[in-house]
């Protein structure tokens, strides 16, 4: 195996994700602002410059029972989700047959669990410990546990994981069913080489799979309307409330990189263009450029939809999620 190519391609992919992830955060805010008929921030401000600014702030100890674990969660999660990006690169397909969709789904589950941990470990002053004497003696119900906002957010995340992740899993498995294999290599190869591409997206089960994947993408990112666990209306931000200074910079990196990686996975599976890093030929460079250009499609669509969606509570989320899962299963049947 060619170690030099392996290391170069892994490092270049990390750099691409770290550059374009925060740009997507800013792009989302800008598009929402234009829909709201105002000018909005410059594209680099909510993502790139904010992250740098947070890294230059003075560090402090957060209010948490295990502060070092709490601060370690975003960098660890970022490292783990990079494996999703690496596993779609052809250099990695040979390693111990890790290049399967099952591995990718497992990593996504891990990322979801991190938010539950964040919620359990954070104790901000904005709820229970606000210095105000309100334990008045008039309440009918006395002596119950007082829960922080972040704890409530963790409980909601567990419900959210069980319900709202179905669409993206079904969306990922439709290409696998069409190609009859869970290996990323087979899915990419079955759509032809770069110059004579026949993407899965342009078939009927492919379109259904793309729509279901898109809905699952919004649910994974906890963006409006699937944002009940991090809603500004009651739990303010949920688990990440106590992140400040450099840790908040890391948290923004996590959000941006996750947005980029899930969109890149969509391009690999549904367009058949994996992120190949090959600087020796025009074909290789143009394939990477085309891949990055196509990753802009999903975040732009998400921004437009999230500008028009309110927070949906659980009693509305259940039917929406099951509805799209049912559409996805119909797509699976069509693909057989």
């Amino acid at each position: 195996m060619d170690w030099i190519n392996f290391i170069i391609s892994s490092v270049v992919l990390v750099a691409v994700a770290l550059i374009f992830g925060p740009i997507f955060l800013g792009l989302e805010r800008k598009i929402q602002a234009r829909i709201q008929q105002r000018i909005g921030p410059p594209i680099l401000t909510p993502g790139t410059w904010s992250i740098l600014k947070f890294w230059y702030k003075k560090p402090f100890t957060p209010n948490s029972p295990m502060p070092r674990l709490y601060h370690a969660l975003p960098p660890v999660t970022v490292f783990i989700i990079f494996f999703v990006l690496w596993l779609t690169n052809p250099e990695w397909w040979g390693i111990l047959s890790f290049g399967t969709l099952v591995a990718i789904v497992g990593i996504m589950k891990f990322e979801e669990m991190m938010y539950v941990l964040m919620g359990a470990l954070s104790r901000s002053i904005l709820s229970v410990t606000m210095p105000y004497d309100d334990l008045a003696k008039g309440a009918l119900i006395k002596g119950k546990i007082r829960r922080f906002f972040e704890g409530q957010s963790a409980v909601r995340f567990i419900k959210h994981i069980t319900i709202a992740s179905f669409p993206i899993y079904v969306g990922i498995f439709i290409p696998a069913v069409m190609v009859r294999s869970i290996y990323v290599e087979d899915i990419v190869m079955s759509q032809g080489g770069f110059l004579n591409l026949d993407p899965i997206l342009f078939t009927v089960p492919g379109i259904i799979g793309a729509i279901v994947y898109f809905v699952g993408y919004i649910a994974q990112l906890n963006d409006y309307p699937f944002t009940i666990a991090k809603a500004k209306g009651d739990v303010i931000e949920g688990g990440p409330l106590e992140y400040g200074a450099h840790a908040r910079g890391n948290y923004y990196v996590l959000r941006g990189v996750w947005m980029f990686i899930l969109s890149s996975l969509f391009v690999t599976l549904f367009f058949g263009i994996p992120p190949i890093v090959d600087f020796t030929s025009m074909l290789g460079i143009s394939q990477l450029v085309m891949h990055v250009v196509l990753t802009f499609a999903l975040p732009i669509l998400v921004s437009i939809l999230s500008a028009f969606g309110p927070i949906l509570t659980f009693k509305q989320l259940y039917p929406v999620s099951f509805g799209f899962t049912a559409i996805g299963i119909f797509g699976v049947i069509l693909a057989l």
Partner: protein, 149 residues
Amino acid sequence: MFKEISRSNAVHVMLVYTGGCNGCDIEVVNCVLSPYYDIEQYKVMLTWNPREADLLLVTGPVLKRIQPALKKIYEAIPDPKLVAAVGSCAINGNVYHNLGGDLGSSDEIAGPLDKVLPVAAKIPGCPPRPEDIISTAAVAIPILAEMEV
């Protein structure tokens, strides 16, 4: 170099209301949520989490009941940070601190804001116009960019 560029290109603002008549809060909300004024185009974004903020906007005369909460929120903001007093109540107590009949003026007030927190900018008016609030936030940005921390 990156420190100055990033600090002057992204500022997060938090609003704390300490018990005034709420007119200044509506004008600050007008700056943020009204496309006529839109403070986000000047690279200033609103947040409700003190851990994410750089600039704290305080409205209202600081009442004794809210003073501990205000101090806790101020301490939760990581350095470097600035405080701006919005409106006449925060600057000199307005009518509650300076007018009074037989029983004197109100004794629920812990004083104008600069007795409680170090104030970097004052925006006068009852209430100040949204244009004044935006121009003060724009003035505070270079101060933040140069702060040593």
